[in-house]
């Protein structure tokens, strides 16, 4: 409906429509007040011009007016604040059942990896009508994942994960820009988001060559790095059992509670001492420099894939070593030497 307005970029996500509504609301406020000021200035300038209005009438001020033009704009801005904040919260809270895709930004390209292992560069295929959450990592500097047609933007920051999510409403090809200046070829770090009918998407997924799903590759890496010597569910475990860790609340040895999200898993691999699970010794070494950004994504995805299982794949007993304080979920983190 808003598409009839020229100069609006395509509206291709549920979020885009909402942003445009707020945009139009603020625009009307802006147009109203700037016209008001412009008209007043012009009218006064002509009406009270010196050639016809020789003598100015001295006016000190007016408390009522001052209060009026303080309070009224304040009220309007508070409406905009609440409205914009609600939209923003929605944008920062991906629906729980989102389909997930990993994205890595590097100078100067975008790489995406789908759950089943398909990889693509500077193109992102997504199905229409599904919630899609992109988990973003950067290999070098700060980039920013920006799809104007979805009104979605998220900086991609080295050293941690950030997220963007959307639900595309229209098939088509849309711009993907890097919007955070990232060096020489910044303006070349562009790509396309290709929104397809779900059936076409499935077909596309099936078409590409893959070397195993993300989680499978992650599992291989998990064994390669010997993570499983400590992260196990039997009594010999020196690290927390990772089954069902993801998404749970973890109690740390200093009493803090954190949610085990992607950043937590990532940090636990790279900086194991930062958050140590209650009941465990901080004995895990760092894997900084040993795992690539993509390898990290695979490991994270592997840990996530254990979410539905009750225990580590090699063992289905419940973890004995986990502190009893957290009945709901054992926690993650670290071990091995």
């Amino acid at each position: 409906m808003l598409q009839s307005i020229p100069f609006l970029p395509p509206e291709a996500s549920t979020h885009a429509t909402q942003v445009d509504l707020l945009f139009l609301f603020i625009s009307s406020v802006v147009v109203f007040f700037s016209s008001l000021i412009a008209i007043l200035v012009i009218v006064f300038a002509i009406r009270y011009r010196r050639s016809t209005h020789r003598k100015a009438t001295q006016i000190e001020g007016s408390l009522a007016l001052e209060i009026g033009w303080t309070v009224i704009p304040l009220g309007i801005t508070m409406i905009i604040f609440v409205w914009g904040t609600v939209l923003f919260f929605g944008l920062n809270r991906p629906p729980a059942q989102s389909m997930e895709i990993y994205g890595v930004g590097k100078q100067w390209m975008w790489k995406f990896e789908h759950m089943d292992g398909q990889r693509e560069i500077n193109e992102l295929h997504v199905p229409v009508g599904r919630d899609v959450k992109i988990i973003l990592a950067s290999q070098d500097v700060i980039h920013s994942f920006f799809v104007p047609a979805f009104r979605v933007k998220s900086d991609v920051i080295p050293g941690r994960y950030t997220y963007a999510w959307f639900r595309a409403t229209k098939t088509g090809r849309y711009h993907l820009f890097c919007s955070q200046y990232c060096g020489t070829m910044h303006s070349g770090m562009v790509g396309e988001v290709i929104v397809m009918e779900p059936a076409d998407y499935e077909q596309w997924l099936a078409g590409g060559p893959t070397e195993g799903s993300l989680a499978q590759n992650g599992e291989k890496l998990f064994q390669q790095l010997a993570c499983n010597t400590c992260h196990r569910s039997d009594a010999a475990a020196r690290g927390p059992n990772l089954a069902a860790v993801f998404g749970s609340t973890v109690t740390l040895n200093d009493g803090r509670k954190v949610t085990a999200d992607e950043n937590y898993i990532r940090e636990s691999i790279l900086n194991p001492q930062a958050k140590v699970v209650q009941g465990f010794q901080p004995i895990m070494p760092t894997f900084q420099g040993q795992v690539s950004e993509e390898g990290l994504l695979q490991l994270v995805e592997y840990v996530k894939s254990l979410k539905s299982q009750q225990a580590m794949p090699n063992d289905n007993r419940n973890p004995a070593t986990v502190s009893p304080s957290e009945a709901t979920t054992p926690k993650a983190k670290v071990p091995s030497k």
């Binding site: 920062n92 809270r93 629906p95 729980a96 997220y163 749970s248 200093d254 009493g255 999200d261």
Partner: protein, 107 residues
């Protein structure tokens, strides 16, 4: 000249108080002052150290730097300076303290 001359005795007392504060801080760091409050452990010696540091700084500002005897303007400048420092620290920590909040859907 309308300035205030602080008696030597005051300076000596402040000097001794500052030395005492230093001693207590060092002692506190070797004592185990951690305490528990609603499930969290608080590092008692760090808290003691910071409280003493703030007290010492206040003493220096008030007496050695004569602020106690200075105009309201000087007070305003000092307060503004530290107020802005707190703004810098507090608003930045406002980010770090709440990182991760809301970013993942509750399961």
């Amino acid at each position: 000249m309308s300035e205030h001359v602080v008696p030597i005795k005051t300076y000596v007392i402040i000097f001794l108080a500052l030395l005492l504060g230093t001693g207590v801080t060092v002692w506190a760091s070797f004592a185990d002052l951690d305490f528990q409050l609603s499930g969290h452990t608080f590092p008692g010696s760090v808290i003691v150290a910071l409280v003493i540091a703030c007290t010492k700084a206040t003493l220096v500002i008030l007496f050695f730097m004569h602020v106690k005897y200075s105009s309201r303007l000087t007070w305003a400048v000092v307060i503004a300076g530290f107020f802005w420092l707190i703004l810098l620290l507090a608003l930045t920590m406002n980010d770090y303290a709440f990182r991760g909040l809301l970013t993942y859907p509750s399961q």
